[in-house]
């Protein structure tokens, strides 16, 4: 179809040519623009080229009709929506511009003549309106038509070319290996990352190789027999393939996604492409993990072995220590016993010497008197003097005995208010320090028997003595049980009892138990209980012993009761 305009001046024609040239260049200039920008630019260009009062461009944003772009430009620069009356023009079929249609006061500036042209692709359209009554002239129709085509071209090409460009960048910059090959397996394209992976310098070098050359020897059969046929037949194959480094021949594990590219028009298979991910970092981390696991196992094994050695050492040490402990306890026992014996022995020795002196003197005096009396003539005064001295020495012997007794009980100076429980606990700790195995210690404390007025050291001596005796008596008993009981007897008296389940007392010693030098023990000096009695009696208490049923002995002694409040008084 061709138009001519009768009244076209030369000036008008020149201008029309210039505009046409400009419009023909638009698609190239709009190459990098977004559809929105193309629509805006198109609408503004039309406004100027057609000397129009309103232009409108609507475009499908992409290849779908859902997202439309609508741009309206007016000569007064104000924003206007497309008058609803014009909308009907947009429904015209594509092709030549519509016939002009007059719209009354669409912009409140008088009536406008409108003309529209549908775009070639999609549902878009170009609309222009003018006050000029002759609008549109034939030239304006041509210009509108060319503009619509230019906008249509630009807009329809834009997403493809633009996306292609972007895709290209994406592929170029991808960290994965991206490659395209012919159906015969000739390499067409490998992205830079892919070239780096397989150690190729350039795309040209890659194009010299066939796809099979990229695959490691160990995987070539599989590639040839499984992977490639599957891609050609089914369109896609995914899995692990070992590629080969062209320079070193090293095996490169990749996760391969290979797919067939078909011609969009004909649907015929064109190419095979792949996006393959390098698995070596995964492999390395797997290896590292495995190595770590292995070394961990080794380290655990080594450490376990070390621990076993340490444990053995410890066991040996423990055994040694136990032996040493046993020896120590034996020694302590011996020492304890020796100390008690030597104390008793020293006391006995001192007692013997102290008493021997006056006894010897007394005996001598008496014997001297006897010798004198045996003479026919004797000095009566001398005999009397000897007898007097002899008697005086006997008194001295008695005094020594009293003094020893006082020595053992040491007067009343050190007596204080002492908590009974502490006395008993301290004494049992001392008594059990000998390391008797398996002795059950039962403490039965009467809360009413809180304190006594006593010399702590002496009462501990008594308690330790009674407890040691009990332990010795229980040496052969299966479950040696030592029961220490405290009890308030009356307001002034507290009783402490030490009971054992030992062999009990022989009848021979029972009645003379607290006398000196009476003992039922093989090595006993027979002083312990006599000293105990001395101490208890010096504390104004009493000590006694009773046989237990079915076996054993209970020793009881009493002390003066006190209240803990009196301690500081």
């Amino acid at each position: 179809m061709f138009w001519t305009q009768r009244a076209a001046s030369a000036r008008t024609l020149r201008r029309a040519f210039r505009d046409l040239r400009g419009l023909s260049n638009l698609p190239a200039r709009w190459l990098t623009l977004e559809p929105q920008q193309i629509a805006e630019s198109g609408a503004k260009t039309l406004l100027a080229v057609l000397d129009a009062d309103l232009t409108h461009v609507s475009l499908d944003a992409r290849n779908d009709a859902e997202t439309r772009i609508e741009i309206t430009c007016t000569s007064d620069g104000a924003a206007h929506a497309l008058p609803s009356a014009v909308r009907s023009l947009l429904r015209e079929p594509p092709g030549t511009p519509s016939s002009a249609s007059a719209v009354t006061e669409p912009l409140k500036c008088g009536g406008l003549q409108f003309v529209a042209a549908r775009l070639a692709f999609g549902t878009g359209a170009v609309v222009a309106g003018s006050r000029h009554t002759e609008f549109p002239t034939d030239i304006q129709r041509v210009l509108l038509s060319v503009s619509a085509n230019a906008i249509s071209l630009a807009a329809s090409r834009c997403p493809w070319e633009f996306d292609g460009q972007r895709l290209g960048v994406l592929v170029e910059r991808s960290a994965d290996l991206v490659g395209v090959a012919t159906l015969d397996g000739e390499t067409r394209y490998v992205n830079p990352a892919g070239l780096r992976f397989v150690g190729l310098a350039s795309l040209a070098a890659a194009r010299m190789a066939r796809v099979i050359d990229f695959v490691h020897e160990t995987d070539r059969n599989r590639m040839r027999d499984v992977v490639w046929p599957t891609v050609i037949r089914a369109g896609r194959w995914q899995g692990e393939v070992t590629f080969r480094h062209f320079a070193t021949g090293a095996a490169l594990p990749f996760l391969v996604d290979a797919f067939r590219i078909d011609d969009p028009q004909t649907g015929q298979p064109m190419n095979v492409a792949t996006v393959s991910r390098d698995l070596s970092p995964v492999r390395e981390s797997q290896m590292a993990l495995r190595r770590l696991n292995e070394t961990l196992e080794e380290r655990v094994a080594a450490r376990t072995a070390e621990l076993a050695v340490m444990n053995n050492k410890l066991l040996v040490e423990i055994a040694e220590r136990e032996r040493a402990d046993r020896r120590l306890k034996e020694l302590q026992n011996e020492l304890f016993h020796a100390a008690r014996l030597s104390v008793a022995g020293q006391m006995a020795g001192a007692l013997a010497h102290e008493l021997n002196q006056p006894l010897t003197a007394s005996t001598n005096y008496v014997n001297a008197a006897r010798h004198l009396l045996a003479r026919k003539v004797f000095d009566k005064e001398k005999v009397t003097a000897n007898m007097t001295e002899g008697a005086r020495e006997m008194v001295r012997a008695g005094q020594i005995i009293r003094r020893l007794r006082d020595f053992a009980t040491d007067g009343e100076a050190k007596r204080r208010v002492e908590p009974v429980a502490t006395l008993v606990d301290d004494a049992s700790a001392l008594a059990l320090a000998g390391g008797e195995v398996g002795v059950i210690l039962v403490r039965q404390f009467d809360p009413e028997a809180e304190a006594v007025f006593a010399d702590r050291i002496q009462i501990q001596q008594v308690l330790v003595n009674l407890m040691r005796n009990a332990l010795e008596a229980m040496a052969a008993v299966r479950e040696p049980t030592l029961v220490v009981t405290t009890r308030r007897v009356d307001s002034d008296t507290i009783e402490i009892a030490v009971a054992d389940n030992g062999r009990g007392l022989p009848a021979a010693v029972r009645d003379r138990l607290f006398e000196p030098f009476v003992s039922s023990k093989r090595n006993g000096m027979g002083l312990g209980l006599s000293i105990c009695r001395s101490i208890v009696e010096a504390h104004h208490g009493r000590i006694s012993a009773d046989a237990n049923e079915p076996g054993g002995t209970t020793f009881r002694f009493t002390l003066m009761a006190a209240r803990l409040d009196d301690a500081d008084a």
Partner: protein, 205 residues
């Protein structure tokens, strides 16, 4: 005529003075020393008599005095007085050359017998005869009696001896009594004296 002088050393004044009374009454001549130093000071001048020493004294005991006297050429016979049961000390004293020992308290007969025997200046023949006599008596003991005597000489108590020999204390006491009868003595001291005499003696000074 043997000497009648008895040098008495005891730190206890009553014992000292009672001994003076008894020895005097028995016709002997006691000279008293209150401390070892008094005796040692006088020792170089001592020409005759015997020594009656108490073993147990502070600072310097009877054995120390005996050793000092031996070293300084005073060889007067010594009778040692010990506490009862202090047998090991008595044995040491005997081995160091003491004539006899007495356990306090002692009766006058034991004392006077020991002192008079010491005052008889012993000749080598006397000593030899005493050793032969002791050896013969000891040899007459049964093995068990000999073991009990050895234990006593070593200063052990009946109880300890019983334990060592694996017999009862009662049996030890029986052996001991029979052993004393066979040795012709009534005291442990006498038995110990014989036992020590029968043993090989150190060379006397």
């Amino acid at each position: 005529m043997p000497s009648r002088t008895v040098h008495v050393l005891d730190d206890d004044v009553a014992v000292r003075r009672s001994l003076e009374q008894l020895l005097s009454a028995a016709g002997l001549v006691p000279i008293l020393y209150a401390t070892p130093f008094e005796l040692l000071e006088a020792a170089p001048r001592l020409a005759e008599g015997c020594l009656l020493l108490d073993v147990r004294m502070p600072r310097m005991n009877g054995l120390d005095v005996q050793e000092w006297l031996n070293r300084h050429g005073c060889h007067l016979p010594i009778v040692m007085m010990t506490a009862r049961g202090d047998v090991s000390t008595a044995v040491r004293a005997m081995k160091a050359g003491a004539r006899d020992f007495l356990e306090k308290p002692f009766d006058d007969e034991s004392l006077l017998a020991a002192v008079r025997a010491a005052l008889v200046v012993g000749t080598l023949d006397d000593r030899t005869r005493a050793v032969a006599d002791a050896t013969a008596r000891i040899a007459a003991l049964s093995p068990r009696e000999r073991q009990v005597l050895d234990g006593l000489v070593a200063g052990r108590a009946n109880k300890t001896i019983a334990e060592q020999l694996g017999i009862s204390v009662r049996t030890v006491e029986v052996h001991r009594a029979r052993m004393l009868v066979r040795l012709g003595t009534q005291t442990l001291a006498g038995a110990v004296r014989l036992a020590v005499l029968a043993q090989p003696q150190p060379s006397l000074p």
